[in-house]
């Protein structure tokens, strides 16, 4: 138990744990102190000064986020001095901010706008500095737009890029009034180590970092009668979308989302979960094939541990940082790209459509998916496999634009052919989900029995721990897998690239001996992705994860190989996992990139 101390906040005596910051102490007692540079995911910076409070007996005002409480402190959060100073601070921030709010993409979800509104900043006492500064807008990346004129230099993005992701694409350069948030040598985001994960977007309080949106392009495609527009929805979207449309965090809106997509005018609404199941078939088989090559054929070229390849942020990270480990990646494309490749081949054939007329759209919790869809590797259908990628946020915007009363929609099912999924596909949206789904199927393929965990729930790989480990011992395998008898499959799960870095370093140093590792670029996995509703914080990620696992438990089928549409696609089109056709359409290889 932490030692308790007594303090007073706005004249009310309270007892709190020692070492609590004034900000947290106030929140615990129901007093809200406004913040900008503070974020629950990040270390304290104390640079925006919006959270200043008055401590009686001290001459200067103090930043509440960066000051621990002390015994007997008498704190005022709303004295005349505090109010006037805070108002000045907000005015000063606004004097350097391009406050063209009605034309801003973040209009309505901007923390600075909200503060200005609360404090009713109606006058302009400071010179507007925006016209005097030579701000740049970086629009070269297919995923992220960086507009320096909106930046308030709170450095949440810099801390995100360093602390959560360990990528350090964004940094602070110069000082004083020249200080700005930029990349190395002020290059475009597209030309540096940026993984397009979009966590900077999720943590930016203003519109300085936003996704590149493709809303108008999709509306145009829907309006074009010569086009057949199909859409896929990623697992994590269904547990996030509700937050943008009036629900609290952690509410599953799968059926309403499908209904809304139909009303928007998409010709077919199908599920990325289907290709998540397909990924398990391919990747699980690939893992077992690699094990066989190593243990039976003693092939020296086979690489272990095998790493998952679903997360495009992780892919770009390994291309930059560990290019010598690219052979460890599963050759499977991500579920989004598998879906895209099949949409213009398998789906086109089954529906008797000219692939040329198909526009394939995906709804993703992710900004890196926009970059992924744009990769030259992703044209195996003979066309661009995925034409437009929208984030969860962009879909919410379209639903609002279309005047759909989302709350009142009745649940609708996905369309057939590539719309059926299992619980295994759903949990791809949470950290550990790909691992769990893969183990459910691989174990059964090898032994003919269920994976030995209560109700198929492989709990060691769940939860928000940065690096998780699990060991599955294979006993009494089927005859063809006899060589795996007694083998302990050592698995690891890492989410957030800073944790991916830890695992990769332990592999490089030789201290770990995993066979299979799941890597996700974003904290919490896709449910905490850079395209998910803002805010995203530890509490909200936890609720979204609960929703994902509840969705899994509620599914009649929970193992990828049981999915009837998966069985059908192998029967009608792909023959078997790792067939020549699946190699052509569903697998790929990546190339090294510079570390700088």
């Amino acid at each position: 138990m932490a030692k308790k101390i007594k303090i007073s906040i706005n004249g009310v005596s309270v007892e709190i744990d020692q070492d609590t910051t004034i900000l947290d102490a106030a929140r615990q007692t129901g007093v809200i102190i406004p913040t900008l540079c503070y974020h629950k995911d990040l270390c304290v910076a104390g640079n925006c000064r919006v959270c200043i409070v008055e401590i009686m007996g001290q001459k200067r005002l103090t930043a509440a986020c960066a000051t621990p409480c002390e015994e007997g402190m008498d704190i005022l959060t709303n004295s005349l001095k505090v109010r006037n100073s805070r108002k000045h601070i907000i005015e000063l921030l606004l004097s350097e901010h391009n406050a063209d709010c009605t034309r801003c993409y973040k209009n309505g979800n901007c923390e600075l706008q909200k503060l200005a509104s609360e404090y009713k900043i109606m006058t302009q006492d400071f010179i507007r500095l925006v016209p005097f500064k030579n701000y740049t807008i970086d629009q070269f990346s297919p995923s992220i737009i960086k507009d320096d004129s909106k930046c308030i230099r709170c450095q949440r993005c810099v801390r995100t890029c360093a602390e959560l992701q360990g990528v350090n694409a964004l940094t602070v350069a110069h000082k004083g009034d020249q200080m700005k948030i930029t990349t190395f040598f002020e290059k475009a985001m597209n030309d540096v180590v940026c993984t397009n994960c979009g966590q900077c977007i999720n943590h930016c309080p203003t519109g300085a970092l936003v996704e590149k949106n493709y809303i108008e392009e999709v509306w145009d495609a829907i309006a074009d009668k010569t086009k057949h527009v199909i859409v896929q929805t990623a697992p994590a979207v269904r547990v996030g979308l509700g937050e943008e449309l009036g629900f609290g965090p952690g509410v599953r809106v799968t059926g309403k989302m499908v209904a809304a997509l139909k009303r928007l005018g998409f010709d077919a609404v199908m599920d990325t979960d289907f290709t998540a199941d397909l990924t398990i078939m391919e990747e699980g088989t690939e893992l077992l094939t690699r094990l066989k090559r190593k243990m039976v054929d003693h092939d020296p070229d086979v690489k272990f541990p095998m790493a998952t390849s679903c997360s495009p942020g992780w892919i770009k990270y390994i291309e930059h940082m560990y290019p010598d480990y690219l052979d460890h990646l599963s050759t499977c494309k991500s579920p989004q790209q598998m879906f895209g490749a099949l949409a213009k081949t398998y789906y086109a054939k089954a529906r008797n459509l000219d692939p040329e007329t198909i526009v394939s759209v995906s709804i993703m919790p992710c900004t890196a998916k926009k970059f992924e869809a744009n990769r030259p590797e992703m044209h195996d259908s003979g066309y661009r496999d995925v034409d437009y990628v929208l984030t969860t946020r962009e879909l919410a915007i379209m639903i609002k634009q279309a005047g759909i009363d989302f709350m009142r929609l009745d649940d609708v099912h996905y369309d057939r052919l590539m719309g059926e999924s299992t619980g295994a596909g759903v949990i791809f949206g949470a950290t550990g989900g790909v691992m769990e789904a893969a183990l459910r199927t691989a174990y059964e393929l090898v032994t003919g029995r269920d994976v030995p965990f209560d109700n198929l729930n492989i709990t060691p790989v769940r939860g928000m721990e940065g690096v998780k480990e699990a060991t599955v011992k294979i006993e009494n395998p089927l005859k063809e897998w006899a060589f795996l008898e007694g083998v302990e499959l050592k698995c690891a799960v890492a989410h957030g690239l800073v944790n991916a870095h830890k695992v990769m370093e332990s592999i490089r140093s030789g201290e770990s001996n995993y066979q299979f590792i799941e890597f996700m670029a974003c904290p919490g996995g896709c449910l905490g992705g850079g395209g998910q509703p803002i805010p995203t914080n530890p509490e909200i990620r936890r609720k979204r994860a609960e929703a994902i696992y509840a969705e899994d438990e509620g599914m009649p089928l929970r193992k990828s190989h049981q999915n009837p549409e998966i069985i059908k696609i192998y029967k009608d089109f792909l023959d078997h996992p790792l067939s020549e056709k699946s190699h052509h359409l569903l697998h790929t290889h990546y190339s090294p990139r510079d570390r700088f």
Partner: protein, 166 residues
């Protein structure tokens, strides 16, 4: 530790030898992030300035992100990412030098050299920079050329000082 002699010899060194020397410096400083400023300082002494390639090299050797290296060196006005001329002319604009006419001296320098602050003349002879207080307030306004300090300069002295250099 790298000696003053070695720094004096860098002009005659090949690029390869310069990088080898820089590697020694980084090793001497134990590759510690906390020594980054000193390492950048020495690197600038060796190369004359800190081009992109040198920043890459330092980041790579020290296992830092290159943006971190860039962030530190852009913070300090001593570091330059542009090649410096044979002579770096710096005028102090700290409070004392400023009120004693530093600004007029700077304008005269810009005029005579035909360049702005932070720029090098086309003949690679002169670079112009501004400092904020070098602790020589008693000599205000103070100016330095490379490491030599000139005291109580005024616009009329500029021609003579620069003329002596050429």
């Amino acid at each position: 530790m790298i000696t003053k002699d070695e720094v004096c010899k860098v002009h005659a060194m090949t690029e390869e030898e310069k990088y080898a020397l820089l590697k020694n410096v980084i090793n001497d400083y134990d590759r510690k992030e906390s020594n980054l400023i000193q390492i950048l300082h020495m690197a600038q002494a060796i190369f004359g300035y800190l081009p992109v390639e040198v920043q890459h090299y330092i980041a790579d050797q020290m296992e830092l992100s290159v943006s971190k290296v860039n962030s530190v060196l852009t913070f300090y006005s001593f570091f330059s990412t542009q090649p410096k001329g044979k002579y770096t002319v710096s005028i102090c604009l700290g409070t004392a030098c400023y009120v004693r006419g530093g600004r007029e001296v700077l304008n005269k320098l810009k005029d005579v050299l035909g360049i702005d602050v932070g720029v090098t003349t086309d003949d690679k002879m002169f670079s112009l920079s501004v400092m904020r207080c070098i602790g020589a307030c008693g000599l205000a306004p103070a100016m330095t050329v490379n490491s030599k300090v000139y005291k109580q300069v005024n616009p009329n002295k500029i021609h003579r000082i620069l003329g002596m250099l050429k």
